[in-house]
C-alpha cells in the first residue's frame, strides 16, 4: 500500500490548537475562537487536497497509510500507531472537518456571550482531532484511542455548562452508558487478538477466512454493543436525549453529524467480520429496526425541539445501522445516509440553535409558533433540512433513505417484507413528527413568552446554516448520480462485487416511500394545523404518555440496572467490609506483623549482618549441593 506523510496533519493540527488554547488559558481568550476555526478550516483544506489526490489515483492505489511510530512492541506482538486513509475514511474526514468548520464558524457567534468561549473551542478542536483519529486509525487499538477521545470530548461538551447540576448529570449519564459500549469494543478487540493474533484491520481481514464462526459472531456482537453505546442504539440509547444539555453547536456536531455515527463507521469498517457472521448481522438489523422505530415514536411526543431532533437522530442512525446489517449491499447506502444526514441534521440543529437564540433560549416548541415571518432564513434552511429528512425527492434524504428501504426489501422473503415494512413505517412516523416540529415552530399562532423578541440570527450563524441547507438539497443527488458512492466505496466494503438481487423493482419501493411520506405529513397537517395551545395537552392516551416518557427507557434502565445495581452494590459493600476488608486487614495485619518480625533482623550491628550473609552463603551452597545431587 502507498504511504503518505500528510495524513497526520489532519489530526495534529486540531490537537495542537486544542492543547495551545488550553495551556494558554485566558491569555488566548481574545483570539482563541478565530484560531481554532482557522485550524479546523485548514484541516478541512488538507482533507480536500487529499480527497482530490486520492481521486486522481487509480482505484487500487487510492488507500494510503502513514506509520507514525511503533506504539507497542512486546515480543511478537507489535502495534504501530499508524493511519489509514482510504475511500471510507476520507468520506468521514470531509464530513468531520467540513461540518466541523461550519459549526466552528457558527459557534463564534453562538457562544459570543459565554466567558468560556475559548475553552469551548479548545474542546471542539480536541473533538475533531479525536474523531479524525477514530476514523483514520489503521487498527482497532488506534481506533479505540479515538473512540475514547470522542467520548471524553462529548462528556466535556455535554457538561460544558456544568454549573447546572442536571447538565453535569446528563454528561455523566452519557459517559457511563458509553462505557458499557466501550467494554464491548475492548472485548471485541481481545477476541480479535485471541483469534487472529492481530488488532489491525488488514491483519484481521487477511486471516478472517481461517476463523470459526463462533468467534466471529462473538466479536461481531461485541462490536455491535460498542456501536450501540456510541451511536445511541437500543438498548443503550437513553443518553442521547439528555446529551442535548450541551450547547447547541455541540448537539449539531457531535450528537447529530459525527460522533454518534461512529458506530456505523465501526460496523462498516468491520465488514469483513460481519460478512462472515450472519447471526451478528441479523442482530445488527434487529437493533437497527428497533431503534429506528423507537426513536421515531419518541420523536412524536417531544415538545423540546432539541430532544425531538435527538430522537430523530437516534431513529436515522437506526436506518444506517439497519443498512449495515445487510452487508455489502447496504454499507454504501449506510454511509450515504450518514453523509446526507450529517448535512440536514446538523443544519436543523443549527436552525434550532438559531431559534433558541432568538427566543431567549426557550426550547419548548409549544412556546414558539409563527416564527417563519421573523426568522426567514432560519425557517428556509430548516425547511430544506426538513424536506431532506422526511425524504421528499429530490432532496438528499430521499435518495439515501429510499435506497435503505429498498435494500431492506431486497433481503427477500418474509424477512424482507418485515424489514422493509418496518423501515417504511419509520418513514411514515418520521414524516409525521418532523412535520409537527415544522408546524409548531414556524407556522400557526404565536405562543411566545411575554419577553420574547424573535429576530434573525447574525450572518456568522446563518451562513453555515445556508451552506448545510445546500448540502441537504444537493448531496443526495451528487452522491448517488451514477452510483458514485457505491463505486467509490466498493474497494473497501464490497471487494468481491456481489450481485444484488432485487426483490421489488426500485420504482415500486420509491412509490411506497413517497406514499409513506405523504401519509405521515397529512396526519401531522390534520392534527397540528391552525391554533395550538401553549402547553402540552394532559388528557392524552396512555401511548402518548409512554412516548413522552421516552417509552420508559429510563424507567427500564432504572428497574433493570440501577435498582438491582444499587442492591448489588449494597450487598457488595457489606461483603467488602465483612469479607474482603476483613481478609485484607487480616493480611495487612499479618504483613505488618511479619514485617515487624523481619525488622528485628535489622539490628544495626555489623556482626549480625555479617552473620546473616554467612548463613545465606551457607544456605546457597547447601541449596546448590541439593540441586546437584
Amino acid at each position: 500500500m502507498n504511504t503518505s506523510t500528510n495524513i497526520v496533519y489532519l489530526i495534529a493540527l486540531p490537537l495542537f490548537s486544542s492543547a495551545l488554547l488550553m495551556l494558554l488559558g485566558r491569555k488566548a481568550d481574545k483570539w482563541g475562537h478565530i484560531f481554532a476555526t482557522l485550524i479546523s478550516a485548514s484541516a478541512f483544506f488538507v482533507g480536500v487536497t487529499e480527497f482530490f489526490a486520492m481521486r486522481s489515483r487509480p482505484e487500487e492505489a487510492r488507500a494510503v497509510t502513514q506509520k507514525l511510530f511503533t506504539w507497542i512492541s512486546v515480543g511478537d506482538f507489535q502495534v504501530d500507531a499508524s493511519l489509514l486513509l482510504d475511500q471510507l475514511s476520507i468520506a468521514f474526514v470531509l464530513l468531520i472537518t467540513g461540518v466541523g468548520t461550519l459549526i466552528h464558524i457558527y459557534s463564534i457567534a453562538y457562544m459570543s456571550h459565554d466567558r468560556d468561549r475559548r475553552r469551548f473551542f479548545a474542546y471542539l478542536n480536541f473533538f475533531i482531532a479525536a474523531m479524525l483519529l477514530l476514523v483514520l486509525g489503521d487498527s482497532y487499538l488506534n481506533l479505540y484511542v479515538g473512540w475514547e477521545g470522542v467520548g471524553l470530548a462529548s462528556y466535556l461538551l455535554i457538561g460544558f455548562w456544568n454549573q447546572k447540576p442536571e447538565y453535569a448529570t446528563a454528561a455523566k449519564k452519557a459517559f457511563v452508558m458509553n462505557r458499557v459500549g466501550d467494554f464491548g469494543l475492548s472485548i471485541a478487540i481481545m477476541i480479535g487478538f485471541a483469534t487472529f493474533g492481530s488488532v489491525s484491520f488488514s491483519g484481521i481481514e487477511e486471516k478472517v477466512g481461517g476463523a470459526g464462526e463462533t468467534a466471529l459472531t462473538a466479536m461481531g456482537l461485541m462490536l455491535l454493543l460498542a456501536a450501540a453505546g456510541k451511536s445511541a442504539q437500543f438498548p443503550l440509547q437513553a443518553w442521547l436525549g439528555d446529551a442535548m444539555a450541551g450547547p447547541t453547536p455541540v448537539s449539531a456536531l457531535i450528537h447529530a453529524a459525527t460522533m454518534v455515527t461512529a458506530g456505523v463507521y465501526l460496523i462498516t469498517r468491520s465488514n469483513f467480520i460481519f460478512d462472515n457472521a450472519p447471526t451478528a448481522q441479523l442482530a445488527v438489523v434487529m437493533i437497527g429496526i428497533i431503534t429506528l422505530l423507537f426513536g421515531a415514536v419518541i420523536g412524536t411526543a417531544k415538545d423540546d425541539i432539541k430532544k425531538a431532533l435527538a430522537a430523530s437522530t437516534m431513529s436515522q442512525i437506526g436506518y444506517m445501522i439497519l443498512a449495515t446489517g445487510f452487508g455489502p449491499a447496504g454499507y454504501a447506502f449506510a454511509i450515504m445516509h450518514l453523509l446526507t444526514h450529517g448535512f440536514f441534521k446538523a443544519g436543523m440543529f443549527l436552525g434550532a440553535g438559531s431559534v433558541m437564540h432568538g427566543m431567549n433560549d426557550e426550547v419548548n416548541m409549544r412556546k414558539y409558533g409563527g416564527l417563519a415571518k421573523f426568522m426567514p432564513i432560519t425557517s428556509i434552511t430548516f425547511g430544506l433540512g426538513y424536506l431532506a429528512i422526511i425524504g421528499v425527492p429530490p432532496f438528499a434524504g430521499f435518495y439515501s433513505k429510499d435506497k435503505i428501504i429498498e435494500t431492506a426489501f431486497n433481503a427477500g422473503g418474509v424477512q424482507g417484507v418485515i424489514f422493509g415494512g418496518a423501515a417504511l413505517l419509520g418513514a411514515v412516523i418520521t414524516a409525521f413528527y418532523m412535520t409537527r416540529v415544522m408546524l409548531l415552530t414556524f407556522a400557526g399562532n404565536k405562543r411566545w413568552a411575554s419577553d420574547a423578541h424573535p429576530h434573525e440570527s447574525p450572518f456568522l450563524m446563518w451562513a453555515p446554516m445556508a451552506v448545510l441547507a445546500i448540502g441537504s438539497v444537493a448531496s443526495g443527488y451528487l452522491l448517488y448520480s451514477g452510483k458514485a458512492i457505491v463505486k467509490w466505496l466498493a474497494p473497501v466494503v464490497d471487494k468481491d462485487h456481489h450481485e444484488h438481487v432485487e426483490f421489488l423493482p426500485p420504482i415500486v419501493v420509491t412509490t411506497l416511500a413517497i406514499v409513506a411520506v405523504l401519509i405521515g405529513v397529512s396526519i401531522a397537517l390534520l392534527k397540528y394545523r391552525g391554533e395550538q395551545s401553549d402547553s402540552a395537552p394532559s388528557d392524552v392516551s396512555i401511548w402518548t404518555r409512554f412516548a413522552r416518557r421516552d417509552l420508559l427507557q429510563d424507567d427500564a434502565n432504572e428497574f433493570l440496572f440501577m435498582r438491582p445495581g444499587q442492591e448489588v452494590t449494597k450487598a457488595l459493600v457489606v461483603t467488602d467490609e465483612r469479607v474482603i476488608d476483613g481478609a485484607v486487614r487480616g493480611v495487612a495485619a499479618s504483613a505488618v506483623g511479619s514485617a515487624r518480625g523481619l525488622r528485628k533482623l535489622q539490628t544495626g550491628y555489623v556482626r549480625n549482618y555479617a552473620l546473616l550473609i554467612l548463613i545465606g552463603a551457607a544456605l546457597i551452597l547447601a541449596a546448590i549441593w541439593v540441586v546437584t545431587i
Binding site: 515480543g75 533482623l601 535489622q602 544495626g604 545465606g616 552463603a617 551452597l621 541449596a623 546437584t628
Partner: protein
Amino acid sequence: MGFTAPVLEYSALAPMLVIFAAAVIGVIVEAFTSAKLRPSLQLAIALGAVILSFTQVITLRGTTTTTVAMESVVVDGPVLFLQGTILVLAFLGLLLIADFEQFAAQASAIPGSPEEEVATKTGKVQTEIYPLTLFAVGGMMLFPAASDLITLFVALEVLSLPLYLMAGLSRRRRLLSQEAALKYFLLGAYSSAFFLFGSAFLYGFAGKVSFQGIHNVITSGPGNDVFLLIGLAAISVGLLFKVGAVPFHAWTPDVYQGAPTAVTAFMAAATKVAAFGAALRIYYTAVSGAVWSWRPLLIVIAIITMIVGSLIAISQRDVKRMLAYSSIAHTGFLITGILALNQSGITATLFYLATYGLTTMGAFALVSLVRDASGEVTDLNRWVGLARRSPQLALIFSLFLLSFAGIPLTAGFIGKFSIFSAAYENGAISVVVVGVLASAIAAFFYIRVIVMMFFAEPGSDSVSVIIPSRYTMSVIWVAAIVTLLMGVFPGPLLDLIGSLSTLVR
C-alpha cells in the same frame, strides 16, 4: 620466558579511559588549586568527562568489536547501553552533588571536633567527592564490561571503594553517616572476600579466568563440579550483596539512610545498573552451561527478596529507608529478568535498569528538598499534607511512587510487564506469581504515602520545601519526564535495546 606487550584497543576503551583520566586530574586539582576555585572547576571537569565519555559511547554504538584489551574487556551492545545509562545517571548524580551543600567540609576531621567546625565556618570545603564519583563511575562502567574474573574483581573494588567513602561524607548527622560508611565498608569487604574465594574456585575448576574459558570447560565437561558449584555459590554471594538481594541486603537501608542523599541517589541508581549488568553477563555467558544448578537458587532468592523487600517496606517510617526496601524489592524483580534466560529477558532487564535508575534518582533528589531548620526531613509522619505546601513536588513524587509500584502509564509498569512476561515465557511461573503479589503489597505502601501527602491534614510541624537551585529541580524534572514518557512511548527505547541486546562471551 617471553613477554608479550598487551594490546590495547584505545578507541573501544575510550569511554572508561576518559573517566579515569578525569578522575586522576580531579585528584591533582584537589591538591593544587585554591579552595575558592575548586568546586566549580571540579564540577566542570567531572561533567565534561561524563559528556565526553558519553559521546565516545555514542560513536562506538555501531561497532561489532567483541573482546578488547587482551580479552579482558568486552564491548558489545548491552555493555554500551549500560555504560550510557551509567553515564546519564552519573551526570544527574553530579548535578545533585553539586547542589548539595550538606557534605562535610573535611571528611577526615573527627565529627564535632574543633577542626571540623573551623573548616565549616571558614568555608574551606574539600571537593574530593568529584574525583571519587568519577572513580566509582569508571568502575561501574568496567564492571559489566569485564570478561574475566580478575578484571571483574578489580572493577568491583574500583567502584566500591569510592562509594564507601562517599557514604561517610554527610555534614549533618555525621556519626550516622560515618557509621553507614563503616558498615558498608566492612560488609563490602566481607562480600568481596566471598567473591574472590568463588573466583579462585572457578579458576580451580576451569584453569582459566576468562568467561569464555569457563564456559568452554562447563560445556565440554572435564572440570571438577564441586569446584564449580562452590565457586558459583561464592561468586553469587558477592554479586547478590552488591545488588542488595535478601539475605545479603541488610546493609542497604542503613547505608541509604546514613549516606548524604545525593550520594544515595547516585549509589542506588548507578550501582544497581552496573551490578546487574555484570550479573547478566556472568549468568548468561560464563556459567550459562550450568543453569540447572543456579536457576532454582536464583528463583528462591528472587522470591524471598521480593517478599521481604515489600513486606518490610510497609513498616518503615522513614522515606529513605522505605525507598531502600523498595529498592530491595526491585532487586527481586530484576533477578526475575535474569531468570528469564532469553533475549526478551535481557531487553526487559536493560529497560528496567535504565528507567528504574532514573526514577530512583529523581525520588531521592526530591527527598533532599524536603527540609526543616535542621536539614532534611525523612520522617514520613512529617510528610503529611506535603501536597498543600508544594503540590508540584507532591505530584511528581506520586508519579515516582506509582512508577515504583508499576502502575500503567509509568515506566515502571512497562518494565515490570516486560520482565514478568519474559520470565513467564521461560516457565518461571512461580516467580511471576510471587512478583505480581509482591507488587500488590508494594503498591500498598507507595499509595499510602501518596494518600498521606494529599489527603491528610498537615500537622503543626514546619516542614518546608527548599529549592536550592536549578540543578536538583532539573534532575527531578528529567526523571519525571522520562518516567512518564517511557510509560507512554516505551517503543523506541525497547526497540533500541532489542537491537543491541546480544551478549558477547
